[in-house]
């Protein structure tokens, strides 16, 4: 496997360095699908075709009628929307900005490993079939890097569906635009003009094969290093041209981009603690100069096996289902939507499979476990090493391969060096009594109600958690299963518990809900093979309670947070609340708990986890969305809480707060 990867940084040096790299002549294929002429449309042509399309014209007519304005007015609005959205790809500018980008990434990263052959092979594919890249999204380096790699492999650079927040800086926005990024609003609502333009814009790129399209199925950069639930709506828009027969096929390429260390790492941590999000302004990026002095380790980019949509959906979605609808009135039924969702999860699964489990991420999990064990939250090197090795062995017995680059010790040594900005070993790393300590990072106390002290501890703890999270895609299943094992022993009950927990924790650990039965069977099998459990007739006997407990503790805190959230909501009166009110109430409550019980970690202050908890309660009927806020349904919350207590002791052990 590893032999398929080349180090892109070495490649660039071979080509004479970044400057020569961007200047070298390259030939990018164009897409001419069977029976269609290869279009050579300029960004302006594309804009005009969108504005004149039937879909947009129809939306304009509707809009004009609904809002009592003239069609001309509607068209004017369309042009505004379009101009805000559209990319302005020009190869000459790509070369200029490409130089800067290449310079930066070759400086900040030590290695950029890429399975470049797989990417190069797409040149042939693209010649007659539209290509869609679906990468994981952790940092804005993602799409810059992908474009640079395409440039290197002479694959036509994609048009990139980027989030609007990159537009906060006009200059950066324009640069990205010229590199092929187009910008989409996060919340579209029912703006019919916007929908029509956006849909048409994305689809025309695919149908005419102007360039590959790149889109992030998670919608936004994941701030926690865990996959976010796939965005079905956008996926549907992408697949529509195939389902409608506008194109014969399209090829989807999942891409996994794994970083040792993400550039925005600290930024995210602050953001998760509820600081006002620092805008991605130019000055911010210039300050990022300091970044250039740091090292961010290795990046591994894996281009997945291309998925032909025709082959993949061919068996599940019958295009013939849609043909009674005129092209202009196209709608999908629930059944088909379900298949689209399943496809979204299929992509996420591909991402998972291409993301290896690093020694460091396991190490971070052990640090977290040990931190919550220790009264004073200190972790000793000796305990840490022991637990880390134990976990690696445990995972191996479960047939989960931890990717060891050199040796565990060398990997760890390297990692501690790389992450010295938030974690250090005090003293000699070989001395078992040395203490591993999280750095207290600076916080601006004025901007928050929570005490500075608490926050500065929390920031690095959250960074640590995010590192641990990067292996949760494989650890969540055994962990949730272990939680279930602790509360039930009959196989039926076990399955029921497992499925319940899976759904309750869906927002945290994304998985395909339709696959959960298989998932259960597989995990039972692997636990049995590992000797952790034994099945006797209808019941399951735990053989190694120790490990089961350790595993369970990786996900248990999330249940605890759910139950804290419930408590908080039950205390509210009148029974109305907004999500951000609930989040800050819960944060306060968690800080109190932490004071009393050090096993409650401050990383639980993360707004992401709290919002997920809130959403879960909403989905479970404990809340109900109203126009401005949510109404609280105490009875449902109470029931839900009762179910939760099967798995998790109430916070603060016994005391009622």
């Amino acid at each position: 496997m590893d032999t398929d990867y080349v180090d892109f940084i070495k490649e660039i040096n071979k080509q004479g360095g970044p400057f020569q790299f961007v200047r070298n002549a390259r030939e990018f294929p164009t897409c001419s699908q069977f029976g269609r002429k290869a279009t050579n449309r300029s960004p302006k042509d594309i804009i005009e075709s969108v504005l004149n399309s039937d879909k947009v014209m129809e939306a304009v007519r509707q809009y004009a009628a609904q809002n009592n304005v003239s069609v001309a007015e509607g068209q004017k609005q369309c042009r505004n929307i379009m101009e805000q959205m559209a990319h302005d790809f020009t190869l000459s500018n790509v070369r200029i900005f490409g130089y800067i980008i290449t310079k930066v990434i070759t400086t900040v990263f030590d290695e950029i490993l890429v399975n470049a052959k797989q990417l190069r092979a797409l040149r042939e594919t693209f010649k007659d079939t539209p290509v869609i890249f679906i990468p994981t999204h952790r940092t804005y380096i993602d799409f810059l890097l992908l474009s640079v790699l395409c440039f290197d492999q002479e694959m036509t650079l994609p048009a990139i569906a980027a989030a609007m927040d990159f537009m906060n800086s006009k200059m950066i926005g324009e640069i990205l635009r010229q590199c092929g990024a187009f910008f989409i609003r996060r919340a579209v609502g029912d703006d019919i003009l916007y929908w029509a333009i956006f849909t048409e814009y994305v689809q025309t790129h695919i149908v005419e094969g102007d360039r590959p399209v790149e889109f992030f199925i998670e919608g936004t950069r994941s701030r926690t290093n865990k996959s976010l639930p796939p965005k079905y709506g956008l996926l549907q828009i992408l697949l529509e041209p195939y389902l409608r027969g506008n194109i014969y096929d399209m090829v989807v390429v999942p891409v996994a981009m794994n970083y040792d260390k993400i550039l925005e790492e600290q930024l995210y941590a602050y953001e998760l603690l509820g600081f006002p999000k620092p805008k991605e302004s130019t000055s911010g990026l210039l300050k990022a100069r300091s970044i250039l002095d740091k090292s961010f380790g290795r990046v591994q980019v894996t281009f997945g096996k291309p998925i032909s949509i025709r082959e993949h959906l061919g068996v599940s979605i019958k295009r013939a289902t849609f043909v009674c609808q005129p092209d202009s009135q196209w709608k999908m039924s629930e059944v088909e939507k379900r298949h689209i969702r399943a496809f979204g999860h299929h992509i996420i699964k591909n991402h998972y499979e291409m993301s290896s489990v690093s020694v460091w991420s396991i190490a971070c999990s052990s640090i977290i476990l040990l931190t919550s064990d220790a009264k004073d939250n200190t972790v000793k090197c000796g305990d840490f090493l022991k637990l880390t090795h134990n976990l690696i062995d445990l995972l191996r017995s479960l047939e989960i391969q931890v990717h060891i680059r050199k040796t565990v010790a060398q990997d760890l040594e390297r990692a501690f060096k790389l992450h010295s900005d938030f974690i250090t070993i005090e003293g000699d790393a070989k001395d078992p009594n040395s203490i591993i300590r999280l750095t207290e990072l600076k916080v601006d106390g004025k901007k928050t109600k929570i005490s500075k002290d608490i926050l500065s501890q929390a920031v690095s703890l959250i960074i640590l958690t995010n590192h641990a999270n990067s292996s949760m895609h494989v650890l969540s299943t055994p962990s949730i299963f272990s939680l279930a094992l602790l509360s039930s022993s009959s196989i039926d009950k076990l399955k029921e518990c497992y499925k319940w927990l899976r759904t309750v924790l869906y927002s945290e650990f994304v998985h395909d809900p339709l696959d959960v039965d298989n998932e259960f069977d597989r995990i039972v099998q692997s636990f049995t093979l590992a000797g952790l459990i034994e099945s006797k007739e209808e019941s399951v006997i735990v053989k190694d309670i120790n490990y089961i407990e350790i595993l369970s503790r990786l996900t248990k805190p999330y249940l605890l947070i759910l139950s804290v959230m419930i408590d908080v909501l039950m205390d509210v009166s009148p029974l109305h609340i907004t999500m951000s009110e609930a989040t800050s109430l819960a944060q306060n409550r968690l800080i109190q708990l932490h004071d009393r019980d050090s096993s409650v970690l401050l990383s639980s202050l993360s707004a992401d986890i709290l919002k997920n908890a809130f959403t879960t309660l909403d989905q479970r009927g404990g809340l109900q969305k109203l126009a401005r806020n949510y109404s609280i349904h105490p009875e449902q919350l109470n029931n839900f809480k009762k179910q939760l207590t099967t798995y998790v002791e109430l916070p603060g052990r016994s005391s009622k707060i």
Binding site: F34, K37, G245, Y248, K318, A320, V323
Partner: protein, 562 residues
């Protein structure tokens, strides 16, 4: 007995004469485009060498036929000829294989009365009847179900070929169902009339065949399809004769049973006599042609013509491959075609803006009517064409276009000598899906061909042959050279079936006019749904409780008979 038998000789040599000039050019075209090679020929066996299974005998039935003086035969060659239609599969069986099941017996009724007697006897003796007209079915319509244990009797309509009367006052003609299209048309022409129904198979297909398959004629824009032309019909079933008491232009009397008889494909009874509309012969018949820069423009032109309802008697759009093929077959040697290409690009590049030799498509049309009417039609049409970048290509090209499509239908035998397998199939589709369907189906054929190892190029072409208010009919040709393929017939069938799936996925129908037969049964379920199937089954069961008309077309006959 000699007469009716001759009529069923497979249409080959006769046709070659008609299109003699085209003939001499098909060979070079085959060589260039489909890997035809004089050194690699796969001549078929002599027809006489095709093995014919021995006939099953139902002596009481034969005795009964003889008793009432009905002519019949069980000679192997008579039976073989009536065992098949004109599909690629049929041709392959004739040339290289043999049929598992052929009729055991052929009868030739001379009147409706004869038909009634035969049907009664069949019911009495449990004999299967398969009606046959011209045997031009391209859907395995006349083929015998391989597992039929009963005696199968082919009921040949050839002797029921008389015109019963011509009604000048109401412009109607009544004829026996076995009359061959061209014979009917000739007779009407002699009286100053035309029936206007002109399927490409007109030389062989019969009036009864048209009704039973829901046929469509080239000039339907002016005269209508068979369902528009049909005014009255006699239908002999196992339960007796179905016939309306009146012969009126329209009737509101509950669901119309004519619609059940139309397209029944021999599964419910025998069409014996038909009254159809006739029309005075048009004063003028003129051909025309147009060239468009690409198929998109051609289709948008068609769309507008249909929306304005100004389509002439016939309007056809051939895609680039067919256009190029036609042009290269027409010219005396290939170099002239090359010259034509280069002159075209030189001379016309300025005036024919955007025309490219490998993208342009052609439209052919037939105008019929009074002189000034035709003039007007022509002007209107060309005006619309101008708006879609169409350029008038002249009458000779138009005439040639029709001759060519006519000829292609009969050239398959020759191509088969070179190992080329080919077939045509058709569909109907709403306007907004025409282009997608054409493109995707051709793409699929090309991809499937490559997947199955086809090496020597493919004929992969379509034409839009009919316009309707809400859509069009599309006709595909596909062909490939079987050289180097292990099981060409399998390849052929796999492609054909995948193509039909694709047609349906793209919004096309199971068939516009060829019908279902046995070839397309697999798609009936999804096309009409289970309830419609059970209704069809119930009607069939009611009319033919013993399943005498067991050719097994369209749907599987309901198994339980009370």
């Amino acid at each position: 007995m000699a007469n009716p038998i001759q009529q069923h000789n497979v249409p080959t040599s006769y046709r070659y004469e008609i299109c003699g000039s085209t003939m001499s050019h098909i060979r070079p075209w085959l060589e260039k485009n489909l890997g035809g090679d004089v050194n690699w020929k796969v001549p078929g066996q002599n027809r006489a060498d095709c093995k014919v299974p021995t006939a099953l005998v139902n002596q009481p039935f034969i005795d009964a036929l003889r008793a009432v003086g009905l002519s019949y035969s069980n000679a192997p060659d008579h039976r073989l000829v009536r065992a098949h239609g004109q599909t690629m599969h049929d041709m392959m069986m004739l040339r290289y294989g043999s049929f598992k099941r052929v009729p055991d017996l052929v009868v030739w009724p001379r009147s409706e009365h004869d038909v009634t007697r035969i049907v009664d006897l069949a019911n009495a003796h449990d004999v299967v009847i398969i009606p046959i007209g011209g045997g031009t079915s391209v859907s395995h319509g006349v083929e015998c179900p391989a597992d039929e244990p009963r005696v199968i009797c082919s009921l040949d309509m050839a002797l029921m070929d008389k015109i019963v009367w011509i009604d000048r006052a109401n412009l109607l003609c009544r004829a026996e169902a076995g009359i061959v299209g061209s014979v009917l048309e000739k007779a009407l022409n002699d009286e100053g009339y035309t029936c206007g129904h002109e399927p490409d198979s007109i030389e062989f297909s019969t009036l009864g065949g048209w009704v039973s398959t829901r046929a469509s004629g080239m000039k339907k824009n002016k005269y209508g399809n068979i369902e528009d032309l049909l005014v009255h019909v006699n239908f002999v079933t196992s339960r007796g004769l179905i016939q309306k008491q009146c012969q009126v232009p329209r009737i509101s009397c509950g669901p119309d049973l004519h619609q059940v008889i139309l397209g029944s494909e021999g599964t419910m009874g025998v069409i014996t006599e038909v009254t159809i509309k006739i029309f005075p012969l048009p004063e003028v018949k003129r051909y025309g042609s147009l060239v468009f820069p690409d198929i998109d423009h051609g289709v948008s032109f068609f769309r507008e013509v249909a929306a304005k309802r100004c389509q002439p008697a016939s309007l056809r759009l051939v895609d680039n491959q067919q256009f190029v093929m036609g042009q290269s077959m027409k010219l005396d040697d290939q170099s002239i075609w090359e010259k034509f290409k280069s002159s075209l690009s030189k001379v016309y590049l300025t005036s024919w803006k955007g025309f490219k030799i490998d993208e342009m498509v052609a439209v052919t049309c037939v105008f019929e009517g009074a002189a000034d009417e035709v003039d007007f039609q022509e002007r209107t049409l060309y005006e619309i064409a101008g708006r879609h970048k169409g350029i008038v290509g002249g009458e000779a090209n138009g005439r040639y276009g029709y001759r060519l499509t006519f000829a292609i239908a009969y050239l398959r035998d020759l191509a088969m000598d070179f190992g080329v397998l080919g077939e045509s199939f058709e569909t109907s589709v709403p306007w907004d899906k025409v282009l997608n369907l054409c493109r995707n189906v051709k793409n699929l054929i090309a991809k499937e061909g490559a997947k199955h190892g086809v090496q020597f190029g493919m004929l992969n072409s379509c034409r839009v042959t009919q316009v309707y208010d809400s859509g069009a009919a599309v006709y595909f040709y596909f062909g490939f050279n079987s050289r180097g393929l292990k099981d060409p017939m399998h390849v052929y069938e796999a492609i054909e079936s995948a193509a039909r799936d694709e047609i349906i996925a793209c919004g096309g129908s199971i068939s516009h006019h060829h019908g279902i037969g046995k070839l397309r049964k697999a798609w009936v379920d999804t096309t009409v749904g289970p309830i419609a199937i059970s209704v069809m089954g119930a009607i069939k069961n009611e009319l033919d409780p013993k399943n005498i008309f067991a050719n097994n077309n369209i749907i599987d006959a309901p198994s339980s008979k009370l």
